[in-house]
């Protein structure tokens, strides 16, 4: 029997609009308003400088471990900028710039990274979920949110973020499968930053692309240059529109690079070369986008300087506010709050016991 070719209706594509030298493909240039372009630029600078400041605070022992985003600003901002306020962002843990775009405060991120979950502060007018540390486990929540929106006949969509490592997790496959079966309005954004701590993409999968995994689930997959703000934006715009109008889910693979460590507890020199990092530094999304905006006449060198200065002031104010707010968070008894809607009696007892012990220890300290 001759073999027959099976035709798969979905396709996997690659999109690059602004190449690494900053050369624009005019035919593909998305129609983004000047206002949004400038907001995106400011958000990139803010994300970059805030990341630097967090690293600095961590090295000084003023916050704990965190996951830097340097180099991945376009991959997350280009995607999330397509959401409406009422939509849902379901993040992993390396989406600081996207979270800031969604209205999370700088100080809340500092407070969280200094070990207070009061820092999980979702703005009242946003529905977003808090960051999710167990890799890939949040992907499915976006499917539940998206399905619920569809059930309620709302236009809300859910956008979830995850990394290349997460595509090896069962939850990634289950999530994509469920989203496709139920045609849930979900946009799966994979920030393929090449490294899952020390494991490179080549050891994570034999697939030439991550985007092609979408085909197995019957949804469109697109690979984009994740350091190209325009390509990410255009791909996400299309995916969000499709989801909002009942066209179901999309997988977007943003090919990017983690220029810094996995978290501040990690030393990337153990597993990758300086040359590789150097090569990727040349594809930095920020100067590329700035060149585009300057070529368009939307931004001058002086204006970039002004944005830089504004952003640094904003960050300093946030650090000051965070440190002040944290002075009020010292009470360990607060850790018992929000365990359940209603505190069970034995938990009240445990709380009272700790309070008493702390008081007694305090008294002994004073007299001893």
């Amino acid at each position: 029997m001759p073999r027959k070719k099976i035709t798969i209706s979905e396709k996997v594509e690659y999109l690059s609009i602004l190449d690494e030298k900053g050369k624009l493909d005019k035919t593909l240039e998305p129609d983004i308003s000047e206002d949004i372009l400038l907001q995106l630029h400011r958000a990139m600078v803010l994300g970059r400088r805030f990341d630097e400041r967090l690293l600095n605070l961590q090295r000084q022992g003023r916050i704990g471990t965190f996951a830097p985003i340097k180099g991945q600003e376009a991959a997350q901002l280009g995607a999330v900028a397509n959401l409406r306020p009422g939509d849902w962002m379901v993040p992993a843990f390396r989406e600081t710039a996207a979270e800031l775009w969604r209205g999370r405060s700088l100080e809340s991120i500092i407070i969280y990274n200094n070990g207070y979950n009061e820092g999980i502060d979702i703005p009242e007018d946003r529905n977003d979920l808090p960051i999710s540390v167990p890799v890939g486990s949040q992907i499915i929540h976006a499917v539940g949110v998206g399905w619920a929106a569809k059930y309620r006949q709302k236009e809300d969509v859910a956008m979830t973020f995850f990394g290349d490592g997460a595509t090896s997790e069962g939850d990634f496959h289950e999530g994509l499968n469920f989203a496709a079966v139920f045609q849930a309005p979900v946009i799966f954004v994979c920030q393929n930053n090449q490294w899952a701590i020390s494991v490179p993409l080549s050891k994570q999968t034999r697939s030439p692309t991550l985007a092609q995994k979408a085909l197995a689930y019957g949804m469109p997959g697109i690979q984009v240059d994740g350091n190209d703000m325009l390509a990410v934006y255009a791909a996400a715009q299309e995916a969000v529109a499709r989801a909002r109008t009942g066209g179901g889910p999309t997988l977007i693979e943003c090919v990017t690079y983690r220029l810094l460590m996995h978290t501040t507890a990690d030393d990337p020199k153990r597993y990758r070369s300086d040359e590789e990092v150097e090569q990727w530094s040349k594809r930095d999304p920020l100067p590329r986008f700035q060149k585009y905006l300057m070529d368009k006449g939307l931004l001058s060198a002086a204006e970039i300087k002004a944005v830089e200065s504004e952003v640094l002031d904003e960050i300093q104010d946030a650090v000051d506010r965070a440190e002040k707010q944290m002075e009020a968070l010292g009470n360990p008894m607060d850790m018992f709050e929000h365990a359940y809607a209603e505190m069970p009696p034995y938990l009240n007892e445990q709380k009272a016991q700790l309070a008493q012990e702390l008081t007694e220890l305090d008294e002994e300290g004073k007299h001893g």
Binding site: W88, V90, N117, E118, I120, I122, N127, L129, P130, S132, V133, P134, S137, Q138, I139, I140, H141, A142, V143, G144, V145, G146, W147, A148, A149, Y151, R152, A158, G170, D171, E174, G175, N177, F178, V181, F182, E337, H338, A339, Y340, A341, P344, P345, Y346, L347
Partner: protein
């Protein structure tokens, strides 16, 4: 009042709550067209349609993870995991997310969902179909764990679980599903979660159990009365976590003797926690060491040997007589 099996009573609870509240959504494997492998969701897809009763792909983690997302959006998902032996594949979704979101988000997001799943031995089932691993859930802060023992309390507790603002694991004993019928009122009936029930008063000994083990426990209480002239007080926990110890302490203060019965393995089981609390709060009232009658710390054997594994009326009687004999 109609006489119902536990399967029928659970079906009634689901049907009535779905009628009242369009936030209630059922999802799981075979819960729609097939009505669930034990028929607990029988007929619901016909009444409410496939947007209220979802036959999902076969993936436990996604069933629970999707429920978390639905609950955060404001729905009240009631998901079914076909056998509790498969719920380890969704354990991380409960532990990392369902049970924690309220705490993590300082109350901003809550997960009002129910995970229903059949548990326990005694029905000659396949491997991975008979275990009783409630301790895993009971050890998870932020979670509630309910185990009814009969049709009437199962119905009332399931209604309460669906309305509860926190995630509830709802264990249904396969051995009880069709074992007997009880009068179940058509009109609404609820039972508070977190409140054990005193099902029989007595002054000589306290027997504490839950779920499928309530039947051999009550039979043992009958035997003690008829053959030994002993009046055993019997407590049905109904909710394992949050565990309300008050009624247990009051009872043991009165009787001075206690036996805890469960089919789960002994070590680190619910019985260990109950004994600890009685030690802490009723130690000076005890006349004898508390006994545990439980499964053993091995994999529950395949069905040809499960009778020897599961606590029986005889084993409960032996433990009770030992506790009664001690002075």
């Amino acid at each position: 009042m109609a006489k119902m099996t536990m399967v029928q009573a659970l079906n009634l609870a689901l049907q009535q709550e779905m009628e009242k509240d369009d936030r209630v959504i059922i999802l799981g494997e075979d819960v729609g067209v097939d009505g669930g492998v034990f028929r607990v969701t029988d007929g619901l897809i016909n009444q409410f349609g496939d947007q209220r009763v979802l036959d999902t792909p076969l993936a436990e983690s996604a069933i629970v993870g999707m429920s978390v997302g639905m609950a955060v959006y404001g729905l009240k998902p009631v998901c079914e995991i076909q056998f509790s032996g498969f719920s380890y594949q969704n354990f991380h979704q409960i532990e990392n997310h369902a049970a924690r979101l309220r705490w993590r988000s300082r109350g901003r997001h809550t997960v009002s969902m129910v995970l229903r799943t059949p548990y326990g031995g005694g029905v000659r089932a396949l491997e991975h179909h008979s275990e009783s691993r409630e301790a895993y859930w009971a050890h998870t802060p932020g979670l509630k764990l309910v185990i009814p023992s009969g049709p009437r309390n199962a119905r009332a507790l399931l209604v309460s679980a669906i309305r509860d603002p926190d995630p509830v694991i709802f264990y249904e004993s396969k051995a009880v599903y069709r074992a007997f019928r009880e009068e179940v009122p058509e009109e609404e009936e609820t039972l508070p979660i977190g409140k054990p029930q005193l099902v029989r008063s007595g002054k000589d000994l306290t027997l504490i159990s839950y779920g499928a083990m309530m039947r051999p426990t009550l039979q043992a209480a009958d035997e003690l009365k008829n053959k030994d002239g002993v009046e055993a007080e019997v407590i049905d926990l109904l909710t394992i976590s949050p565990l309300d110890e008050e009624i247990l302490i009051q009872s043991v203060k009165k009787t001075g003797r206690a036996v805890v019965i469960h089919e789960a393995p002994r070590s680190f089981g619910a019985g260990a926690e109950i004994v600890s609390r009685l030690m802490e709060k009723a130690f000076y009232y005890l006349e004898a060491p508390i006994e545990r009658v439980t499964g053993f710390d091995i994999v529950i054997p395949m069905f040809s040997r499960e009778k020897a594994y599961l606590p029986s009326t005889e084993r409960i009687l032996r433990a009770a007589r030992k506790v009664l004999a001690a002075s």
